[in-house]
């Protein structure tokens, strides 16, 4: 962190001394992302090609997306925002926008058109879930299981409700230590129709119903808080099945060749993308805008899927999804958005959780502690 601060401070000095050239764009950018394979895919798909075009630009990466909301708020209060572009999940983007910490954007003005001339707004469509959010990828939270731990004579699970069926599929489960997704799955498996889930979950009775359903497996659950936990627990044989992000399962199954299978049933779609912090000085803002336009165009988003199994957020990128950069396998069948995988899906309901998050979380945590 200290190193990054020093680096960006130096870069700022350099930028300040050399603002006259490169049409008043800053020559350094600090991008914030998640680290790991995901950030590597961004470096390969966006940052390297951009640097190849603009040799004078240096890009600093900060792996702080996990706590971006809190840090950005602290930076804003200190009046010293050192980040230029921040990768966050959509629900965080919504909150940053609500807090006035993220800049509102005009998608058509800021982002590139699709190659066939479709406007950016139409190309991203429903995925522009907040006025500040620039979507990059669609990922999903879904369930993986140990293929070698399926009881003999039983078919491998295909239905999300296998989580709650400890008779047919004995063994521990790992679920995320938060209400989001778990509550929806619990209601779904307790007989609530898919399109009524959020109506039910909005009532105290519905929340209790979901917790009661989760209570039936409470003793069989290990609660995780980091995305890497479930793949690890599965690999160690600690759990029979568990929820995690589809990209993590892809890497456990395909790249590491673990005996793991995955369910696409009732996978919960979520979005990840960029926000631009509010109140950037003009030269930095100009640089960021230039970069974002490039990094979210149709080809760049499609390129990213060569490195990681997350679906590009633009409709026009889907046909361009190719093969894995190293393994050479077709990536399309591993995308959460692939028609074969997305027969039964949920879209994270941002508005609902923005309202109910505090309330339901209090109940969920109290229930966990009981």
């Amino acid at each position: 962190m200290q190193l990054i601060k020093t680096l960006s401070a130096t870069a700022l000095l350099v930028a300040a001394s050399g603002t006259a050239y490169a049409d008043d764009m800053a020559s350094n950018m600090t991008l914030v992302s998640w680290g790991g394979a995901y950030q590597a895919s961004q470096v390969a798909a966006y940052a390297e090609p951009y640097k190849a075009m603009h040799s004078d630009v240096t890009i600093t990466w900060d792996e702080s997306s996990n706590e971006a909301v809190a840090k950005l708020r602290a930076m804003n209060e200190a009046n010293n925002v050192t980040w230029d572009l921040v990768d966050v999940v959509a629900s965080d983007a919504l909150r940053l926008c609500d807090e006035g910490l993220a800049m509102e954007i005009d998608a058509n003005e800021l982002l590139a058109e699709a190659p066939d001339g479709t406007s950016a707004e139409d190309d991203f469509g429903d995925l522009l879930v907040s006025d500040c959010f620039i979507p990059q990828i669609v990922y999903s939270t879904t369930v993986g299981f140990r293929t070698d731990m399926v009881p003999e004579g039983t078919a491998a699970p295909t239905d999300i409700c296998a989580i709650f069926d400890t008779k047919t599929y004995p063994g521990m489960r790992s679920l995320e230590k938060r209400p989001i997704n778990n509550m929806e799955w619990a209601l779904l498996c307790d007989g609530v129709a898919k399109d009524e889930v959020y109506d039910v979950l909005g009532t105290p009775e519905g929340q209790q119903q979901a917790l009661d359903k989760l209570a039936t497996i409470k003793d069989d659950v290990i609660w995780w808080s980091a995305g890497a936990d479930t793949p690890q627990l599965l690999a160690d044989g600690e759990v029979f099945m568990g929820s995690t992000y589809n990209g993590r399962l892809f890497s456990a199954i395909v790249e590491q060749d673990q005996p793991i299978g995955m369910l696409w049933d009732a996978q919960v779609f979520d979005l990840d993308g960029w926000i631009i912090p509010a109140g950037l000085p003009e030269d930095r803002l100009a640089r960021v805008k230039d970069f974002v336009k490039f990094a979210t165009d149709t080809q760049r988003l499609a390129d990213q899927s060569k490195y990681i199994s997350y679906g590009p957020a633009r409709a026009s990128s889907a046909p361009l999804v190719g093969k894995h950069a190293e393994l050479g396998i077709e990536m399309a069948p591993h995308m959460p958005t692939d028609p074969a995988n997305s027969k039964n899906t949920f879209l994270y309901n941002y508005e609902f959780w923005a309202d109910y998050r505090d309330d339901i979380d209090a109940k969920f945590q109290a229930w966990l502690a009981q």
Partner: protein, 521 residues
């Protein structure tokens, strides 16, 4: 004198940030600063009747919220109020988007009545005048309070006192618009078309019969347009702002929503502290939260109890080790010392993760036990993701903090005392218990305080191996700081933790005496 630089450093980098963070636990400025008019007007509303407040309150709400949405402050207010009542976040967010539409219900007919109303320069001329400096400064202060920064600078507009008397709502709204346009947007007021809210405000003024009659005798700029508007009031919406808000979202008519706003309208609140002890503020007074939402008292108790257990296990395990270190020959002792220090120098995260490998059900300990036949393969011990895991891992991690002070105190105990006791006929046990142990108590005290205070604020180890029954209050504090962004509640929880620790320290001082604590020599 020589410590002055250090003192200054500590004050600036440590005490001031901590105090300012703790202050957040009672601070509630955002409500009175964002909707000041509503807060003042709401004081007279009686929530027990079960009816929504009067039209007057909704008028203030409209103008305050319009300002807030221009400055992007309304969603912050929504986030704040949503901590107290679920649903207010989206209520304010969605309402913020439709405020323009509400204003246009007045703007469109007014512009039909007299096309001059379309013209920004016409408005500027009509509203400008003399003697309105006080009003301008008053509105400027309100802006500054809302956005939290100085709005100083030349507005290039002074409201007319005469018009302000006649059209109070409109003047306030236009002045707000003028200040924002000139200072924040850095545009010229005369060239900009006024906000939709200004038209809405004119609509408010025109419902007042005194205003209408004052317009008849008014001869200043814009008199004709105003007279035309006054004559054609029938073309304006006949419903008020209460209906307009209700049409956007019915929740605005809910007395519960208003009771919450009223309850949290002062600039200081006890709400966060009450929340932190599982209570809540309701219109009927302070109440216990429903049982299915109580969590913090339990977590505080658990944190204290587990910190005590960890401290006790550290004493039990650390005492013999320290005794060995103090009494073995120098060479052997220094090798042992390295064994104590080595884990101390290793990263906390590494040690915790190593415990994970050891403790999990398919982990090293269980494998060995199963292999030796002590435990059945089917019912392996559950050693982590519960309180046991936290206690084991934290005892190990904090052990050096117990051993080192114990060792340095034991080092000073003369071995000749023990020999003297024995030569006078004491058994080994008596010699230890009556002679040696009392002299080592200061070391136990110092070690215990260190371990206990470190344990009570521990965060990362419980998070990794604690599951649900082994997490501490600090894990919730971390959640509220970095995830839910409810910094007020986090500050309240932190303050309580601080007070509890200071209280325990005081008790310790009273019972054992802090003079009895020695870190060495």
């Amino acid at each position: 004198m020589l410590i002055a630089p250090l003192l200054l450093f500590v004050v600036v980098t440590f005490i001031v940030p901590i105090l300012s963070m703790l202050f957040r636990s009672v601070e509630n400025d955002i409500v009175p600063d964002t909707i000041p008019g509503v807060v003042t007007e709401l004081a007279e509303w009686d929530g027990s009747v079960g009816a929504p407040p009067s039209e007057q309150v909704f008028r203030y709400l409209y103008l305050d919220l319009f300002k807030a949405s221009e400055a992007k402050q309304h969603t912050r207010l929504g986030t704040r109020l949503n901590y107290e009542k679920t649903g207010l976040s989206s209520l304010l967010r969605t309402t913020g988007r439709s405020l323009d539409d509400v204003g246009e219900e007045w703007q469109d007919p007014l512009e039909d009545i007299d096309a001059n109303f379309k013209d920004g320069a016409f408005w500027y001329q009509m509203m400008s005048g003399t003697d309105g400096e006080d009003l301008l400064e008053e509105r400027r202060d309100l802006w500054a309070a809302m956005v939290g920064e100085s709005m100083a600078g030349d507005v290039g507009f002074v409201p007319s006192e005469q018009v302000a008397q006649m059209l109070p709502w409109t003047t306030r709204a236009y002045t707000d618009f003028a200040i924002w346009t000139a200072i924040e947007d850095e545009d010229s007021v005369a060239e900009e078309d006024p906000w939709e809210a200004v038209y809405g405000a004119l609509g408010m003024d025109l419902t007042n019969p005194e205003t209408v009659s004052a317009i008849q005798s008014y001869t200043g700029p814009g008199a004709d347009a105003l007279k035309a508007a006054a004559a054609n009031v029938g073309q304006l919406p006949q419903t008020g702002f209460r209906e307009a808000f209700a049409a956007e979202n019915e929740d605005w008519l809910s007395p519960d929503v208003w009771a919450t706003i009223k309850l949290y309208s002062s600039s200081m609140t006890s709400g966060y502290f009450l929340n932190a002890v599982d209570m809540q503020l309701t219109p009927d007074g302070i109440e216990q939260k429903p049982e299915n939402q109580q969590i913090y008292t339990q977590l505080f108790m658990r944190t204290l109890v587990m910190a005590l257990i960890i401290t006790a296990s550290c004493v039990v395990l650390g005492y013999p080790v320290a005794w060995l270190l103090a009494n073995l020959p120098m060479r052997t002792a220094s090798i042992l010392m390295i064994l104590v220090l080595l884990p101390f120098w290793t990263s906390l995260l590494v040690r915790t993760s190593a415990w994970k490998v050891l403790l999990q059900q398919q982990g090293v300990i269980n494998e060995i036990l199963v292999w030796l036949g002590f435990v059945n393969d089917a019912d392996r011990l559950i050693l982590m993701n519960n309180a046991t895991g936290t206690i084991i891992a934290m005892t190990h991690i904090l052990l050096p903090f117990m051993i080192l002070p114990l060792y340095s105190v034991m080092k000073t105990i003369q071995p000749s005392y023990l020999r003297a006791a024995k030569s006078l006929g004491a058994t080994n046990w008596t010699a230890f218990w009556r002679v040696y142990f009392p002299q080592s108590v200061p070391g136990i005290g110092a070690g215990s305080i260190l371990v206990f205070i470190l344990a009570i604020g521990y965060y990362i180890t419980p998070e990794i191996v604690g599951g649900t029954s082994g997490v501490f209050i600090s894990n919730r504090i971390a959640y509220h700081i970095s995830s839910s962004l409810n910094w007020g509640l986090a500050a309240a929880l932190g303050s309580i933790l601080l007070v509890v620790v200071l209280g325990l320290y005081w008790c310790y001082d009273k019972i054992v005496g802090i003079d009895n604590v020695k870190l060495g020599g």
